[in-house]
Amino acid sequence: MTPLLRVEDLHVHFRSVEAVAGISFEIQKGEVLALVGESGSGKSASALALTRLLPERAAEIRGRALLGDTDLLSLAPRDLRRVRGGRIAYVFQEPMSALHPLLRVGRQVAEAVRQHRPGVPAMKEAVRLLGETGLPDPERAARAWPHELSGGMQQRAIIAMALAGEPDLLIADEPTTALDVTVQAQILELLKTERRKRAMAVLFITHHMALLTSFADRIAVMRHGKIVEQGPFLEVISAPKHPYTRGLLACVPRLGARLKRFPTLSEVAP
């Protein structure tokens, strides 16, 4: 079976810094791939590079990213726009700054609908999507300014925006990091539901391993711009091969375990 997305030897340079140093991975249709790694390991850079969302002047991207059999990295801007939002959609880390502060929420969602599903009444669909993502009063939320919503509500709006183009792959870049714990769980639940309902593949980026249980199908562990280990989720966490992966797992707090203090990564994975 051909994978939905195949990334081959992806490199990202920021001037002299090599943020991503040749990574390869695949995502099957409907599969959830978790990308984990410490801060600065190049997770966001890899994800953004796929649809060339990195600042054009600063970043140099090499390699191949095959969606079906088209290489996203050499796609004409016109066709790339059809992929962005239409086949690959994003949910970002900071919901507050990801929404345009001077445009109403509904309009921002409708914009995505209009772009990818011409003919569909955009505003109505936007309200429906906002409702689907669990916003209590979608009509009102659509008319609201972003700053009038709470962080969790903002993130729901962004998810609605991402779903508007009915993508095959949703890239969620630490979607819950900026939220508090109960809201985190709700958002994660929402992603799980939507993913099941739409049979949508998800690239889930996090450094919070505990979130991945009962969600991730496969996992890839990144460090210093390289993937050090990847495989089926349960296999990897029950028998991690790379010392770094073991280190990451050791840092996850466990119920009932008694520790003087949490180990730091440098101690467990030299």
């Binding site: 969302l53 962005r84 239409g86 990801a98 345009h100 001077l102 962004i158």
Partner: protein
């Protein structure tokens, strides 16, 4: 209701500013420069009889006491005074009458607003459209090459003086191709023919700065997360720009536009004077030239009133554009310190004004005839300044190298050829200015070479005109080139000669034969840029203009810096009422349109380098102070400051070790950016006749002297071109260097290799 109470609170805040402006006009026009002096100036300076002065004052109502009229009864004790009649009445929009022809100022204002607006409104509207469109178009150009090219072009446009655009376009379209009338006006809508030229010029002249301003705004917006979101949605770039980027840039754009509103009404001084448009700008200029204090005073108040209305409109613009802004703002109670300050200042002024009245009268009576300007200005301040400057030039790099900023600058300089080149040129100009500042007076010798003795002191007589190192150097250069000149004045010819010419440019009639021919020059072929109408060597004049430009460019900021730093940091650090007062002060000063403040200053204190530095520093101080305050405010909240506090460091120490060093980059960047703006301002002011005095070498004065020569037949262009070229030669590298400095120091721009 909410809006109403908000409005009320804003008014309560803005009204003290108007009072402040009123006090400043009083301070300037009636305390610093009492009516007696104004009368003397208006009547022609020297040898004015006291009776004349008294009559002049009586006719115009300046003979009242200033604050307290003891002769009158009841309320009249307070109202029959200069303060009430001449100053407080401005609040009622009663602008009084002209000192010269007793015309009511208000009727004149009403009559002249129309023509001013007819030029400035279309200029602003079209400029906004054109420059935004250009900036949006440029934002789509990707790739380092294209971007650098566009940027360089814009910097080049910015480095050209507005005077060049005016003179050039007027000459080309008006005199050359005759597409537009050269000047004049018609009533009503027929005026459109006369409007085209000025509007076109202001569009062209504003392009560099405006497009760069908008581009910088867009650039900042393009880096935001929500722009990335918009792109991730798959929106076309055109929509990202025209909706998402433009929408969030609207707030700063609206601010800029509204801030420009007072200038719309006040008209453009330059354009109005060039095209003889009967607007407010021309009105003020004429008043200045006729020493009409009443009009200038009224215009200062009127201009500030417009600025304050503009501020109020800005608030509304914010409300309309940005939903995040609540109708909150300051509580009325917070305004108390400002009100107390205003009341206190009024009282102090009243008392000082009242008490000084007899004193001033006494002084006036004792020394009725001003022995005005000293015959020969002292040279030592200039020489001391030059010595200090030399020390600073050597010490500054050493000091700078010990800071992080210095290191980053060094890295930039080491890696960029452009920066090296620009720095070299700027330093070259500074060197010329320095050489021209070391001055002495030569001993006068008679034709036989013998020293002339001063009859009074029996010491060798000294020349009136000072000589500088630069003059000496240039003289030897001329001598080496073969011209027999003993002193600078010997370089002059009778009148025009073209560059490198051997004969005069115009024919003269030989009195003996009646034959018309061109006379040979005293120094044939020795004038690389020709000579001007008075026969002065143009190259020499251009070089002598360097000192004025560089001095004003640097000194002004240095004068403003201590105030800005002190007040800005204090406001940001202590907050509370200190902050309120500082904010009040800089809003007050910046409420007075800069040109008017300069005019008032020149009218009251005369023309000169120092006056210009002081008044430009006074106006420039506010922007810098605002910046410092904002930055200190930000710094105060940072964790490392909090931790320094937690460690028990005292305020003074935190300020010295943590806050001030972090402001260094702002100061440096501001110094660099302000430089070229000041050089341009000097030229414009000198051109308008409110800059340095005409005897001082200055590019603005040069342009003023030469501007009519384009209409000669054949055209004499070299004096103008020389002035503009020298200005461009300094400003282009200065602007480019400022950009590089900003690039190297701005934390947001990242460390470019």
């Amino acid at each position: 209701m909410l809006v109403l109470s908000y409005l009320l609170r804003r008014l309560l805040y803005l009204f003290p500013i108007l009072i402040g402006v009123n006090l400043i006009t009083f301070l300037l026009f009636f305390l610093v420069n009492p009516p007696q002096d104004q009368a003397r100036q208006a009547l022609g300076g020297r040898n004015v009889r006291p009776e004349q002065i008294a009559a002049w004052m009586r006719e115009r109502g300046y003979d009242r006491p200033r604050f307290w009229n003891a002769k009158e009864a009841g309320l009249k004790k307070a109202t029959e005074t200069i303060f009430f009649e001449k100053n407080a009445r401005l609040f009622l929009l009663d602008f009084g009458r002209s000192d010269v022809d007793a015309h009511p100022v208000r009727t004149e204002l009403v009559r002249r607003i129309g023509p001013s607006l007819m030029v400035t409104l279309p200029a602003m509207a079209l400029g906004l459209l054109l420059h935004l469109a250009l900036a949006l178009a440029f934002a789509r150009f990707k790739g380092a090459r294209a971007e650098r090219g566009i940027d360089a072009a814009l910097v080049a446009l910015m480095s050209i003086s507005g005077l060049f655009y005016i003179i050039g376009i007027q000459a080309l379209l008006g005199k050359g191709w005759m597409w537009i009338p050269v000047s004049g006006w018609a009533d009503g809508l027929d005026a459109w023919r006369f409007v085209i030229g000025p509007v076109l010029i202001s569009l062209v002249a504003g392009t560099g700065a405006s497009v760069r301003f908008y581009r910088a705004l867009f650039e900042e917006e393009l880096g935001r997360d929500y722009v990335r979101t918009a792109r991730a949605k798959g929106l076309p770039e055109s929509r990202v720009l025209s909706l998402h980027v433009l929408r969030s840039s609207l707030v700063p754009i609206a601010t800029a536009v509204v801030a420009g509103l007072p200038f719309l009404v006040m008209g453009s001084l330059l354009l109005e004077s060039f095209f003889a448009i009967p607007g407010l700008g021309n009105y003020t200029l004429d008043a200045l030239n006729q020493k009409d204090f009443a009009i200038v005073r009224a215009m200062v108040f009127f201009g500030s009133l417009l600025t304050i209305l503009g501020l109020l409109l800005t608030d509304f613009a914010y409300l309309l554009v940005d939903p995040r802004i609540r109708l909150g703002g300051k509580k009325a109670g917070r305004l108390l310190p400002v009100w107390l300050f205003v009341v206190g200042a009024t009282l102090v002024l009243a008392i000082v004004g009242h008490l000084s009245d007899p004193a001033i009268r006494a002084v006036q009576a004792a020394a009725p005839l001003a022995a005005a300007a000293p015959a020969t200005p002292a040279l030592w301040p200039g020489n001391l300044g030059a010595a200090l400057a030399l020390a600073a030039l050597i010490l500054l790099p050493l000091l700078l190298m010990r800071t992080l900023e210095g290191q980053r600058l060094k890295a930039t300089l080491a890696s960029s050829r452009l920066a090296q080149g620009c720095l070299a040129v700027v330093l070259f100009f500074i060197a010329i200015a320095w050489l021209d500042s070391v001055r002495w007076r030569e001993i006068v010798k008679d034709s036989a070479g013998k020293v002339v003795l001063d009859p009074r002191t029996a010491e060798p007589a000294r020349a009136q005109q000072a000589t500088s190192l630069l003059d000496a150097g240039l003289l030897s250069a001329w001598r080496l080139a073969g011209a027999p000149v003993a002193k600078i004045a010997d370089l002059s010819e009778k009148t025009y000669s073209a560059p490198f010419a051997k004969t005069l440019f115009v024919n003269t009639t030989d009195p003996s034969t009646g034959e018309r021919r061109k006379e040979t020059l005293k120094h044939p072929g020795r004038h690389p840029m020709g000579t001007d109408k008075a026969g002065s060597d143009v190259f020499l004049r251009a070089v002598k203009g360097v000192r004025t430009a560089v001095l004003i460019g640097i000194l002004t900021t240095l004068l403003a810096l201590p105030f800005a730093l002190l007040l800005g940091v204090a406001a940001g650090w202590y907050g509370g009422w200190v902050d309120d007062l500082v904010q009040y002060l800089y809003t007050l000063i910046s409420a007075i349109p800069g040109v008017l403040l300069v005019m008032a200053f020149v009218l009251l204190f005369g023309q000169g380098l120092w006056q210009i530095c002081v008044v430009l520093g006074l106006t420039g101080w506010t922007d810098l102070c605002r910046l410092m305050r904002g930055e200190t405010l930000k710094l105060r909240e940072l964790p490392f400051i909090a931790s320094a506090r937690a460690l028990g460091a005292r305020d003074a120490r935190i300020l010295r070790c943590h806050v001030i060093p972090n402001l260094t980059y702002l100061v440096l960047v501001n110094l660099a950016l302000a430089f070229s703006a000041l050089v341009l301002a000097e030229a414009t002011l000198s051109y308008l006749g409110i800059g340095v005095d005409p005897g001082t070498g200055s590019w603005g004065v040069m342009i003023n002297d030469a501007r009519l020569e384009l209409s000669r037949d054949p055209v004499v262009a070299w004096p103008l071109l020389a002035a503009f070229a020298s200005m461009f030669a300094l400003l282009l590298p200065a602007n480019l260097l400022a950009d590089q400095i900003r690039g190297a120091l701005d934390p947001k721009s990242g460390s470019k290799p």
